[in-house]
């Protein structure tokens, strides 16, 4: 709209630049700051009044002097999107990093996505087989779900995410799919690990990669997931693809959010994170799902590391309140040498019931997984007791539960990094484990399923 340049910066603090006496500027509009060396940096208007305009700089304020010129672009941030983005590697602010040509846009989309009208949503219910038993059997993922991995430093969340990305498929067969991968503040080494795997498996051709690494500006992280999800929405709802979005690491995103809050001198919420962090995270996670009458879908697997392994920390906590469950990685399991170290007790998939059962996975799925949960929980409780009173003090019944828990971890949870188990294999394995218990303890399973699937009766066939 206007190309007038202002030289009226009054204050620079953290990622914020304050400019006075401008023409009326719209909230959330883009601003461009020209540095003395001729380079330019982009920012966004956070607060606009007749007297002062506050700009949040995406790439930080390092090197910006008070004499820098500021221009307002008269529009909010848009992202060029196109089918040709598949196979490309972009920076955290969407610039090509792979030496390839600039993206020729088929469309330019607002990066702050509008909310999907709940009336327009379609129920996610299509089972995605990840080949990982603890997910498929116990915490089933469906298309259009947002299911984060709660992890912690030093745990193999990247391996798990990659294994899911490699093996994920729907049983109904081949369909147009894509992966959108957004890295926020992860190390170069971690990024390399992802890229190598994408190349090795040929997934890169079907992927759009956004990389904001640990040494990239922290503030850029604020827009990286928005760019990634805008791309995903285009692929899913305009080009009819089934898109899997992997976002890692949301903890770094939240740190950046906190940094901006502090710079704006906002009243902080819990542990210094902004009071609006729930709403902000929701504006990311809710950009998953299905829409009535559209073929494509967006499934999200955000990864976050729990500071101090603490699941009540605001980042995992607020995430859990928004997402449709969580896959929790536990250090104890790593110590016991178990991969993937997924703790099924604290994990949950809320859309599981939609995606399993007759015609989707198998009729006995719900009952068997409920039974495994109950038995595993009971067995685990007994471990505490055994540590005090010894195995001898246990009744015969309890001893069996204790052994069940050990076997469950050793055989069902534990699997190879390249091992792709079919849902049938997983369910049969669950039955095999349950068969070690007295049949009368299987109170959560209907008689008819026991007769049909219990190994004892199956052998007779």
């Amino acid at each position: 709209m206007t190309s007038k340049e202002y030289r009226s910066i009054t204050q620079i603090a953290g990622p914020l630049v304050f400019v006075e006496r401008t023409e009326p500027v719209g909230y959330n509009e883009l601003a461009m700051v020209a540095l003395p060396d001729g380079s330019e940096r982009m920012g966004q208007v956070l607060d606009s009044s007749d007297e002062i305009v506050v700009i949040q700089m995406f790439e930080g304020t390092t090197g910006i002097p008070k004499t820098a010129g500021v221009k307002f672009l008269g529009e909010t941030m848009k992202m060029p999107v196109s089918r040709d983005m598949l196979g490309r590697i972009l920076s955290g602010s969407g610039k090509p990093l792979d030496g390839g040509p600039a993206i020729v846009p088929e469309d330019r989309l607002e990066i702050i996505g509008a909310a999907i009208n709940p009336w327009a949503r379609d129920n996610p219910q299509e089972f995605i087989q990840t080949g990982i038993s603890t997910i498929d059997g116990m915490n089933t993922l469906v298309r259009g779900q947002k299911l984060p991995i709660f992890s912690a430093s030093g745990l193999p969340h990247n391996e798990i995410a990659l294994q899911i990305a490699r093996q994920a498929k729907v049983l109904s067969g081949a369909e147009d799919f894509a992966v959108v991968f957004a890295a926020m503040g992860i190390t170069n080494e971690e990024a390399q690990y992802f890229m190598r795997d994408f190349e090795r498996t040929g997934a890169l051709k079907r992927a759009v990669v956004f990389l904001n690494l640990a040494d990239d500006p922290a503030i850029e992280r604020i827009i990286t997931p928005k760019l990634a999800l805008t791309t995903a929405e285009y692929l899913a709802f305009t080009l009819d693809m089934h898109v899997l979005v992997i976002l890692t690491d949301l903890t770094n995103y939240c740190e950046a959010l906190r940094q901006i809050g502090a710079a704006r001198e906002e009243v902080p919420g819990r542990r210094g994170y902004p009071g609006y962090m729930y709403t902000d995270l929701a504006s990311i996670y809710e950009r998953a799902g299905r829409i009535k009458g559209k073929k494509g879908s967006i499934t999200q697997i955000p990864i976050l590391s729990m500071p101090g392994d603490d699941i009540t920390h605001p980042i995992p906590d607020l995430t859990g309140y928004i997402t449709e469950g969580q896959i929790v990685a536990k250090r104890e399991l790593v110590r016991a040498g178990i991969y993937p170290p997924i703790d099924v007790g604290s994990s949950l998939s809320r859309l599981m019931n939609e995606g399993i059962g007759k015609g989707r996975t198998r009729e006995d799925h719900k009952a068997v997984s409920d039974q495994c949960y109950a038995a595993y929980a009971e067995g685990r409780d007994l471990r505490g007791l055994v540590a005090i009173v010894g195995k001898e003090a246990l009744s015969e019944r309890d001893r069996k539960f204790l052994e069940f828990a050990d076997e469950f971890e050793r055989r069902l949870v534990q699997q190879g990094r390249e091992e792709d188990r079919s849902i049938e294999t997983t369910l049969d394995l669950m039955w095999e484990l349950l068969a070690s218990l007295d049949e009368r303890q299987l109170t959560r399973i209907d008689r008819k399923y026991i007769e049909k699937y219990h190994p004892k009766y199956r052998k007779k066939e």
Partner: protein
């Protein structure tokens, strides 16, 4: 000053305007696109407005218009089975007008202006009527909709019509004023009624742990706090599905889009056990999901409550669910912090607990202006950060509500659903309702319930010992206590919301279950005295059968069969 002014400042959902002098909470149209907002603060010549839509691109200098009206809900035929956003815009209309995503600047009235409804007057020309009095009826889905004289109007009926009308056609003239089927009411103000009465009947929900152990009343208030994934939404949806209210108002306040979709797809397929009609027919849904504008989220609970009050005034029992009141409180906090108000605890505004009590106070059983008895039961989900109940929203809520259903992460991790902790939850109505239960369920029902509560408490004490010495060290009688309380937990308390039979348990069946477990306990105690090992009792086929009966399609016969064979099976155990 005039009705029009200009924008001075825009910061997110909070816009400051100059040049107008509105009243607090009047609706202001902001900017070129006339986005709807509400006055939340007035300082000197500046008016501060919270805007219900995204303000991206809105600039200082753009026009604002003072409508001179507060935010109102439209009330009349057509509410039932509607799906609204937080400011009562119908979501299907929004989708027609702007596609799959919620854009902005579209206004859509709450009630459809084109539909005609058959109006039958119940008063005639020359009668004298007062505000709130019923002047006619309209059949609407699950109910007979009563058209009432809007508050503030009364006098002689100068004219009244019969026939088919839209909601904004004049159907009567009363005291010289035109009356339509639709009336408007400011959402932040409770609708008037004649007097409040104490609740005296339970709200039967078909959920065993609720109805038997911690009952809510018609007109009562309850809270369900719990960490993420513990079952707040499932429990509230169960109440919306099965509670014996005539009207359900379900407010999805700052929660997930997919959950709303689930309600929208499952409710039309489910039938109300009372009327046999689709559940959606008695339901009004308000969906302001977490990524929809935060100011509209703040307003959504009031919109829902006003609709509930309107049906209450017709003499109906309404149950209102708000999921989650914490998101509402956070919306208040967010707006308050943009206003740079002095924060109270954890950044929440100092008026948080006052707002919470005002909201829950709008619940209750009342005699309406027209002399009918109606009620609103309110159940609020609370989402405490980190599951820590000492935080301000939970504490503010617990000071007001009379029923507390405590969800427990430990229980949910072992898939004990509903994960309602039986030791920490309470209902202050419980004792008051004993008479009702005696009369309507069974004379010995309160006694049985107290037996179950006592048993569970005993179990908790024994568990502490078991943690130290193992269960084998306990005497047989105590082992049996553990075994019976396990039965109460697994058979009675656990209830699977997704199982077609188990999802709803009528009061009579709840009683039968308790009675059978109790009889089992008496028999078992005798057997133990006769030196039958507890393990043998625990492994009885009968016990297994009882455990599974709740999933049987022919459950009633199954329970009868169990009752008939029980004594014999115990005799067969022998003993000394």
């Amino acid at each position: 000053m005039g009705k029009e002014g200009v924008i001075y400042r825009v910061a997110g959902p909070v816009v400051t305007a100059v040049g107008i002098s509105p009243r607090m909470y009047d609706v202001i149209l902001v900017g070129k696109e006339q986005l709807m907002g509400e006055v939340i603060k007035i300082v000197g010549d500046k008016t501060i407005v919270q805007v219900y839509e995204d303000t991206s691109g809105v600039r200082p200098g753009e026009k604002v218009v003072d409508t001179g009206q507060p935010l109102v809900a439209e009330l009349g035929p057509g509410l039932l089975s509607s799906v609204y956003d937080g400011i009562q815009r119908p979501l299907p209309v929004l989708r027609d007008r702007m596609g799959d995503f919620i854009e902005r600047g579209v206004s859509a009235p709450g009630l459809d202006r084109s539909l005609k409804w058959p109006f039958t007057p119940v008063v005639k020309k020359g009668d004298t009527v007062a505000e709130g009095q019923v002047i006619g009826t309209v059949p609407e889905r699950a109910i007979t909709h009563k058209v009432m004289v809007p508050p503030g109007i009364g006098g002689k009926v100068d004219m009244i019509k019969e026939g088919e009308f839209t909601v904004d056609e004049v159907v009567a003239v009363i005291g010289g004023k035109e009356v339509r089927m639709m009336q408007k009411w400011p959402v932040r103000r409770g609708r008037p009624f004649a007097r409040k009465m104490a609740p005296e009947e339970p709200l039967i929900t078909g959920q065993r742990v609720l109805d038997t152990l911690f009952p809510l009343t018609k007109g009562g208030t309850g809270a369900i706090p719990g960490g993420f994934g513990t079952g707040k939404t499932v429990t509230q949806q169960q109440l919306a599905k099965w509670s014996d209210a005539e009207i359900v108002v379900y407010i999805g306040c700052g929660e997930r889009g997919n959950e709303m979709t689930e309600v929208l797809t499952s409710f039309p397929e489910l039938t109300d056990p009372k009327t046999g009609k689709p559940l959606m027919n008695r339901t009004v849904l308000i969906a302001n999901t977490s990524n929809m504008p935060v100011a509209a989220r703040e307003a959504s609970v009031y919109t829902g409550m006003t609709i509930a009050e309107y049906f209450r005034d017709m003499g109906l029992n309404v149950s209102l669910m708000a999921d989650s009141t914490s998101r509402w409180a956070e919306a208040m906090r967010e707006i308050s912090s943009r206003l740079e108000e002095m924060p109270g605890e954890e950044g929440y505004p100092a008026y948080l607990s006052a707002r919470l009590s005002e909201f829950y106070e709008r619940a209750g059983r009342v005699v309406s202006l027209s002399g009918e008895t109606g009620s609103i039961s309110v159940v609020g989900a609370v989402s405490p950060p980190g599951g820590d109940l000492s935080e301000p929203v939970t504490q503010g809520t617990l000071r007001i509500v009379r029923v507390f259903w405590a969800l427990d992460t430990k229980l949910r991790e072992r898939r004990h659903f509903p994960a309602i902790n039986w030791l920490t939850s309470y209902s202050l109505y419980s004792g008051q309702l004993d008479g009702w239960y005696r009369q309507n369920v069974a004379e010995d029902f309160p006694a049985l319930r107290n037996w179950a509560i006592g048993l569970l408490q005993k179990e908790a004490e024994l568990q502490e010992i078991v943690q130290l010495v193992g269960s084998d060290a306990l005497p047989d009688e105590q082992k049996l206590t553990l075994e019976i309380s396990r039965m109460v937990r697994e058979i009675f308390l656990q209830q699977n919301a997704y199982h077609p039979v188990d999802t709803y348990s009528p009061m009579s069946r709840q009683y039968t279950f308790l009675k059978l477990i109790n009889r089992f306990a008496t028999n078992a105690a005798k057997a133990v005295e006769n030196e039958v090992p507890v393990e043998t009792i625990a492994n009885m086929e009968l016990r297994n059968r009882l455990a599974k009966s709740k999933f049987e399609e022919n459950i009633e016969e199954e329970l009868k069969a169990i009752a008939e064979t029980m004594d014999k099976e115990f005799e067969a155990l022998g003993g000394k």
